[in-house]
């Protein structure tokens, strides 16, 4: 039963197990508290960004502004955060608010402006990265060291970043997705017309999904800031497309309606860790992009190999 529910995540889980197995074989040190912390820290930012992307993808859209919101959050946090705990809490809330606001703009334009999500978020990608550049024209800024260690440190074998990820996933996202709103998000992604007929407020659902996505992307930016302890307006760029890749690799369908959080989180760790694994395997840094792209392409082809065996091509076209 559980296996069937998580069937779509299976590919990512298997890939990550194989990858970690090979990493452990090459570099036994990863089985230390330090290694655990390193592994967990590497994937957490992308995992949070992938959760943001997933929430939007479930409604049948795609959010190209995820990376820009990550960069904006990073710029705000590293520029305005002072040393006092009060300032840290205020700035964290401010950053999450900025993420929610960014998501709100996306959602309103998609739902009430009736513009395709890919265009809206392509445009807001420019706008949010513009604001990030206004706040932080040059890389720099700082955050208090206790902010960084609280998020990226570890207690024995337990990295704090994993706790952060669990808290965000289980205490923020899971209750929402299990609520009436979550059901509505899946329904709207699957069949907007049908959802409307069943009395679901399609527009409000869309806006909520984009706001949740914005907040999650801001979480990713906050964690990234703890990792880098400085601000860089352009640092988020890579997270847009990697988050889409993680979501698809993790078994969600671009087009909406299907996808669970587990797959994309696992896939995000796979995509983030693979570079270190290649490094440990002694692959020259020039070949790393080749392997990263090649493995992504291979995994995607493998996941869709069923299309080659289909007798009736029409069923493929309609899927």
């Amino acid at each position: 039963m559980i296996l069937r529910r998580y069937k779509s995540s299976l590919l990512a889980i298997l890939a990550l197990i194989l990858l970690l197995g090979y990493y452990w074989y090459k570099q036994p040190l990863i089985l230390s508290p330090f290694g655990f912390r390193l592994l967990a820290n590497q994937g957490t930012t992308l995992a949070l960004a992938a959760l943001a992307q997933l929430t939007v993808v479930l409604t049948g859209g795609v959010d190209l502004s995820v990376g820009a919101i990550v960069g904006l959050a990073n710029a705000i946090a590293a520029t305005y955060m002072g040393d006092s705990p009060f300032s840290v809490v205020t700035v964290v809330l401010l950053t999450l608010g900025a993420g929610a606001g960014a998501g709100l703009i996306n959602g309103v334009l998609v739902a009430y402006g009736r513009i395709q999500p890919i265009i809206v978020t392509l445009a807001t990608l420019y706008i949010y990265s513009g604001f990030a550049l206004l706040i932080r024209p040059q890389p720099g800024g700082s955050v208090p060291s206790y902010y960084a260690t609280t998020l990226t440190g570890s207690w024995g074998y337990l990295p704090y970043s994993l706790i952060v990820l669990l808290v965000v996933t289980l205490l923020f996202r899971l209750p929402i997705m299990r609520s009436r709103l979550g059901t509505a998000i899946y329904a709207v992604g699957d069949n907007p017309g049908g959802a409307h007929m069943s009395g679901i407020k399609v527009n409000r659902t869309l806006v909520s999904a984009y706001v949740i996505g914005g907040v999650l992307a801001a979480c990713a930016g906050l964690f990234l800031t703890a990792q880098t302890t400085s601000g860089d307006a352009t640092i988020g760029t890579a997270y847009t497309l990697n988050s889409v890749a993680a979501v698809v690799f993790g078994g969600a369908i671009l087009g909406g309606g299907r996808g669970l959080a587990l797959g994309p989180i696992i896939a995000a760790f796979f995509i983030s860790i693979i570079i270190s694994v290649l490094f440990a395997a002694g692959v020259s840094s020039f070949y790393q992009s080749v392997f990263q792209g090649g493995i992504l392409i291979f995994v995607l082809m493998f996941g869709n190999a069923w299309t080659l065996r289909v007798r009736n091509r029409l069923s493929v076209l309609r899927s």
Binding site: V62, L109, G113, R114, I115, Q116, I118, I119, V120, L122, A123, T124, L125, Y126, I127, S129, G130, F131, A132, L133, L134, P137, P192, G193, H196, V202, L241, V244, A245, V248, L254, S285, F286, Y287, Q288, S289, V290, F291, Q292, G293, G294, L296, I297, L300, M301, N304, A305, T307, L308, R313, L314, V316, L317, R318, S319
Partner: protein
């Protein structure tokens, strides 16, 4: 003509994205000239057309791909890799034809691989072409060892990019030729009609006996070759190749296609609108530069204008209708 008929005409006019984008282009030009009369100088027009050529040529491919309902995100490193390959081969003493031919071959192969992923494995082009882009970035790094390539440029590439014929720059002529071919192909050929049909209703196209896989191959190979051509022109223009030279040419041509009124989900639009979109994008960038608005302000204005334009003419039907 009665007022209601006039209103209907105006309504139809604004619904048509192409008309709006050309209208906006005229408004932008007038505003630019009023703001700074030097905009209308022959030197500046030449410079703008020169820059528009790179974006316009890439946008040819993006228009074809977007009409089928897909997107090509492999442009940046496809462009960079093939340009560096061309310049390096030429620098090593191979002839100009071999060098340019090798670059074009890279384009064809990349386009074929893109098409295979989308047409045979039915993967979403947003992810598939992205993977290709990462792969090509890696290949570029391996090929150059991460060093900035040091190379000489074939003479006729320089001529195509920055040469003049009778006082007129060659690059925009190259663009105009490709643009004319694209427009005719889209409007008059079977391939053109199949492109629209693929974007509109692929199962219906399949049921009428056409293999849409061939259509994807055509669109993606064309897009990839356009990216290579733009890269070659850009190399001639800059007299050098460098890592990351393609990074500015991913989202801007896509924005030009959208501003030109082509539906991002495919099936509607065309290159006539994309030309206006390209010129609008180039003009906007240069107005913002002249107004000494920094990169941050440029990004914000650019995004707001895309949204404003799309709100004006490319809204979807209500999902609830």
């Amino acid at each position: 003509m009665t007022t209601s008929r006039l209103a209907a005409r105006v309504g139809a006019f604004t619904k048509h994205g192409v008309a709006v984008s050309y209208g906006l282009l005229v408004v932008l030009i007038v505003a630019a000239v009023i703001y700074n009369p030097a905009f209308a100088s022959w030197g500046n027009i030449q410079a703008q057309l020169q820059i528009a050529t790179f974006i316009g040529v890439i946008a040819i491919g993006q228009t074809l791909v977007i009409l089928t309902g897909q997107i090509d995100l492999s442009v940046p490193w496809n462009l960079t890799f093939s340009s560096i390959l061309m310049a390096t081969l030429y620098g090593q003493g191979y002839g100009a034809v071999t060098a340019v031919g090798a670059a074009l071959l890279v384009g064809i192969v990349v386009g074929l691989i893109n098409a295979v992923g989308v047409a045979v494995f039915r993967l979403h082009s947003l992810v598939w072409t992205l993977g290709m882009n990462a792969l090509l970035e890696g290949l570029t790094m391996v090929y150059t060892n991460g060093q900035p390539p040091d190379s000489t440029i074939p003479g006729f590439v320089r001529f195509l990019a920055v040469g003049h014929v009778g006082g007129f720059p060659v690059a925009p002529i190259v663009w105009a030729v490709f643009a004319a071919i694209t427009i005719v192909v889209l409007a008059r050929s079977r391939f053109g009609r199949f492109l629209y049909a693929t974007g509109n209703n692929e199962p219906a196209l399949f049921l009428s006996g056409i293999d849409s896989r061939i259509v994807y191959v055509g669109a993606f190979v064309a897009s990839s070759v356009c990216a290579v051509l733009a890269g070659i022109l850009l190399t001639g223009y800059a007299s050098q190749t460098y890592l990351g030279m393609g990074n500015d040419y991913l989202l801007v041509p896509i924005a030009a296609v959208i501003i030109g009124g082509t539906n991002i989900m495919g099936g509607f639009g065309g290159y006539v609108g994309t030309i206006a979109g390209t010129l609008i994008v180039v003009l906007l960038q240069s107005i913002l530069s002249v107004a000494q608005i920094g990169q941050a302000g440029k990004n914000i204005v650019f995004g707001v204008i895309i949204i404003a334009l799309v709100l004006l003419y490319a809204r979807e039907a209500r999902p609830t209708d």
